[in-house]
Symmetry: C2
Amino acid sequence: MNIAQTYITESAQCLLETNALAKCAYNEICIAISAMADSINNSEKNCNGVVPLKEPCYQKLEDHFGWYREKPLAILKKKGGPIDIYKLFSSKEEHLAVGIEFETGNISSAHRSMNKLSLGVRRKELDLAVLLLPMHKLSYYLTDRVSNYEELLPYFPLIADIPFIFIGFDVEKYSETATRLPKGSDGMSKRSLRKWKEQY
Amino acid sequence: MNIAQTYITESAQCLLETNALAKCAYNEICIAISAMADSINNSEKNCNGVVPLKEPCYQKLEDHFGWYREKPLAILKKKGGPIDIYKLFSSKEEHLAVGIEFETGNISSAHRSMNKLSLGVRRKELDLAVLLLPMHKLSYYLTDRVSNYEELLPYFPLIADIPFIFIGFDVEKYSETATRLPKGSDGMSKRSLRKWKEQY
């Protein structure tokens, strides 16, 4: 998988250029994205499940880089769902809390993910927010009604004032002979998730 | 139906206090809300449909006050759905474009409605945005998973800097003998909607 498009706000760009922890976070995210499949079956619309597609990305972030799943925001008081993936980067001098939402729901769900990350940053519970979405071309072959980068794009300006990165990803190759990804959670590895509550 | 709670941003409050058109808009919305049912059947969870509940509100706004349905935002280029209800208020001196979303979807859908209104205001296509939601207590007896005022409340600060009003409505009376509102669009009047495209 590769990064096809990004929208990086001015304050996020500034972090990436001046803050070693932010650079490290972004680098880890890029590596995790590249761990996902290179090719996808394009024999018909909606013919691939999205859950197995994103699994290698999660796995790389959790097992290799030590990110946590399902970090609740204090402001939401355990309502409304946690942040998908979270890591607190630390150096001797400072901390940087980074939250990722890997969006594989419909467009309404993408709005909720964006707002949750936005709230996290505005309430100072996150220092940098990242939202991952498939490109429109790729989403055509994924589960029906999965949202895509282009669909949410008109709304990106709503978070232009905070450190926020949107990443649209796409496969290298579309092929009618590539293995179809199963729908639902079929074929998933049985590994236990590295959930944030393990930290308490 | 009555207004149980409101969240009025500072700039919206300023409009209501100083702008006759905004005062008029808010007054029309309050009257339309009061046109909805006074009582609701509370014999079991999710026992009422939400579509017939809101119909008298729409009808009052359209037929009595001349609001339009389904006004597209130019920035969205006919993608992502129009604003539910819209009216351009005018005096000799000025105009005031007001957009309403009457939210009866799930919480994700409420986020999309909020963001759509927010985008409309920030892009200067709307001067005042209003989002109507049932209170939690009422939503318990409406269609399953309909979002409510309290559920979206933690996110209200995201639009604190623009003229925005959230209104949480509730019935006067809960009764096991009140007529159940049918689910779906059963029992709806056959009147034609006053859609914005009629303006073109």
